[in-house]
């Protein structure tokens, strides 16, 4: 029997070759990652890097983090064999059930780790940005549990799309600040959180919600989410006797994806598929597919792929999924793409919503619309993999969150009463 506590600790404590000592992910194409931030934030970023590095080897931190994930967040999460969906897909599909975590998504893993770090650094206040609201809810939850003041910045457009999550955050005692500048979505919420942080870093911890931003966030957020892939790898071996042929995840900023991918990176036979939000289609320009439809640049402190115009101005992203509606991607995904280890493809709104409905009807599971992008991608690659391998492929899909928050959008999309039109 696996000891779940030991599994959580080893997942977090594992050392990785990347990023390098300077916080970069070097490739032949570009030097991804780094720290493109004002000097005013360098002191707190150094303080954070030191706290993170200490926590990686500190048994007391390991115990606290493992306790929270085991007895509060509901880890380990299940790996569910989706028999009805598998029959339809022509592949053996295993769902990694991050939707069953407390607060309803993978975000709680990262947030509990960061909130513990905040306490250790002596901070009394935590701020966060949120798109779909899942990271905001997770942060508000951790802040309530650990006795931290909490302010969540959220694009005004997103507060309308995700009103339920706004109410949840407020119930949990957080202040939700609608950001009504720029495109009024996730990227503007990050800008506003950075403006807060540069003036408040003495007392305030910035809990960035995805594996992006300046070093050490991409590495640290990955490490807190890394348990997803470590569990999935073990559970797949137990269930099937072999590693999967592919692991699929949706990619916005990419924290659930790097969390489920990272343990599989050394397993060369396992294909890693990241599905970006294709919106109305990459060719229309209305999408959030930073790798497929973007170019190399710097946004929010890191060099990565992003959506930008000919003068390096960030372009607005578009997706039916608020959680994927971000015009850049974490630098480790840029690295995995540039080195060929990861395969990144767009899934448009219509494909994602078809997969959303299929999972509801075949398995009785309502996924987050974000996660439906990963499902749609898995359904697309299943016949390709079957043909290539000459047998039924085994595919792990990271079901990063549950879809309760999306009912208004889904009801509107499918024309049910009570949905948004």
């Amino acid at each position: 029997m696996t000891d779940p506590r030991a599994e959580i600790i080893s997942a977090y404590a594992a050392t990785a070759a990347m990023p390098d000592d300077t916080g970069h992910f070097p490739t032949d194409d570009a030097l991804f990652g780094g720290r493109f931030m004002p000097e005013a934030l360098m002191a707190v970023l150094k303080e954070l890097t030191e706290a993170y590095e200490v926590s990686k080897t500190d048994p007391a931190f390991h115990q606290e983090f493992a306790d929270l994930l085991l007895h509060y967040a509901n880890r380990p999460s299940l790996l569910t064999e989706a028999r009805n969906l598998s029959a339809r897909a022509g592949a053996r599909i295993l769902l990694k059930r991050e939707d069953l975590n407390h607060t309803g998504s993978h975000k709680i893993n990262n947030v509990l780790g960061q909130a513990l770090l905040a306490k250790r650094m002596g901070k009394t206040r935590v701020i966060a940005e949120t798109g779909a609201g899942q990271h905001g809810v997770a942060t508000a939850t951790a802040a309530a549990l650990l006795g931290l003041d909490c302010v969540v910045y959220m694009g005004a457009e997103d507060t309308r799309r995700q009103a339920l999550n706004v109410a949840r955050m407020r119930m949990l005692g957080a202040e939700v600040v609608p950001v009504a500048i720029g495109s009024q979505t996730l990227k503007d919420a990050i800008n506003e959180a950075l403006r807060d942080w540069v003036a408040s870093a003495d007392t305030t911890y910035y809990a960035l919600g995805t594996a992006a931003g300046p070093h050490p966030f991409p590495a640290m957020v990955r490490d807190f989410a890394r348990i997803i892939g470590v569990e999935a790898r073990r559970q797949c071996l137990e269930a099937t006797g072999a590693l999967p042929d592919a692991v699929c995840a949706c990619v916005g900023g990419g924290s659930n994806a790097i969390g489920v991918f990272h343990a599989f990176v050394p397993d060369e036979s396992v294909r890693l598929y990241g599905f970006e939000a294709g919106g109305s289609g990459v060719a229309t320009g209305l999408h959030a597919a930073s790798i497929t439809g973007g170019s190399v640049g710097v946004l929010h402190g890191t060099r990565t792929y992003l959506l930008q115009d000919q003068y390096g101005q960030t372009q607005e992203s578009h997706s039916i999924s608020a959680g994927l509606d971000y015009p850049a991607v974490g630098p480790e995904h840029a690295y995995l793409h540039a080195t060929g280890r990861g395969i990144y493809e767009p899934v448009d709104d219509a494909e994602a919503m078809a997969a959303f409905r299929t999972l509801c009807e075949t398995e009785g599971i309502i996924p987050a619309i974000e996660s439906a992008h990963a499902l749609a991608g898995a359904l697309r690659i299943a016949p390709q993999l079957a043909a290539e391998l000459g047998r039924e492929p085994v595919i792990v899909v990271n079901l990063s969150g549950r879809g309760d928050k999306d009912m208004h959008t889904a009801a509107g999309y499918f024309g049910f009463e009570g949905g948004e039109q």
């Binding site: 720290r35 931030m37 004002p38 000097e39 990227k187 990050i190 950075l194 003036a199 946004l299 929010h300």
Partner: protein
């Protein structure tokens, strides 16, 4: 030696601080911003920072955000910002561009330095670029004789101040407060202490910005710093005067008030 270095050296010879004024190019229009920046020079600014409006100005407060948003909505482009910098250089003032990093990287680092030098620009301020990430920029700016201005902050350690100052070739920009751009009632003691700490590490000129908006504040800073940097207060004048001529006049008046303050403060050294 380029124009920026000349201006700073001449002021030092006169034992006075320089006045550095900021406006984003393209607000209210490209030509309108050029008119306003010329008025700043007429009012007494020695150096002009031509702002390159950016979609994600995470270090700017609401006033500069509003101006940058309007400039971008009207489609201001990097070549037009460089043109504005050239028009400022033609006045004889030192002309710098202030830009977040991505527009420079995307334009092409060497091309940016080369095109700016070609129109007479003499420096670039890069608020979200630290020397450790600036390898290609250091090479290109050296090649085209463009002054480099990096920032130090009240939170900077002595080691980081030394490292940052050593990478500057124009002046060192000392951020007076921890926070984003925008006028403040008091600039406070952090600025003076930061200038002293920076002087301990470098002979480069040290100029103070963030929060400065009045002649009296300018005088206070000019008593100990090599330059006083004012941004949001100028932008405010343009935002508050929808009639472009009145806006330009208001900007000229503010420049004169600040220039008087700088000379008054410099006299108290």
């Amino acid at each position: 030696m380029n124009r920026l270095q000349d201006v700073l050296k001449a002021a030092r010879a006169e034992n006075r601080a320089v006045l550095i004024g900021y406006l984003p190019a393209g607000f209210p229009s490209v030509d309108g911003s050029i008119d306003a920046m010329r008025a700043m020079v007429e009012g007494g600014c020695d150096v002009i920072e031509v702002g390159l409006p950016y979609s994600d100005p995470a270090m700017d407060g609401p006033v500069i955000q509003a101006a940058a948003d309007q400039a971008l909505a009207r489609g201001v482009s990097t070549p037009e910002v460089i043109r504005a910098a050239g028009a400022v250089a033609d006045t004889g003032a030192a002309s710098l561009i202030m830009s977040y990093w991505n527009p420079i990287e995307h334009y092409g680092v060497d091309r940016f330095a080369s095109d700016l030098a070609a129109v007479g620009g003499s420096g670039v301020i890069t608020p979200d670029l630290i020397p450790e990430e600036a390898g290609p920029w250091i090479e290109a700016s050296d090649k085209h004789d463009i002054g480099r201005v990096f920032l130090v902050a009240p939170s900077s350690t002595p080691e980081r101040i030394a490292l940052t100052a050593a990478a500057c070739t124009g002046f060192v920009y000392a951020g007076a407060v921890m926070g984003v751009t925008g006028a403040r009632d008091q600039v406070g003691h952090a600025a003076r202490s930061l200038v002293e700490r920076t002087r301990a590490a470098t002979d480069q000129p040290v100029c103070v910005g963030l929060g400065v908006s009045t002649g009296d504040q300018a005088a206070e800073i000019a008593a100990y710093a090599d330059g006083v940097i004012v941004g949001s207060a100028f932008v405010r004048r343009l935002l508050d005067n929808r009639d472009p001529r009145k806006g330009v006049d208001a900007v000229r008046e503010l420049a004169a008030e600040l220039a008087e303050g700088v000379r008054r403060g410099s006299g108290q050294r």
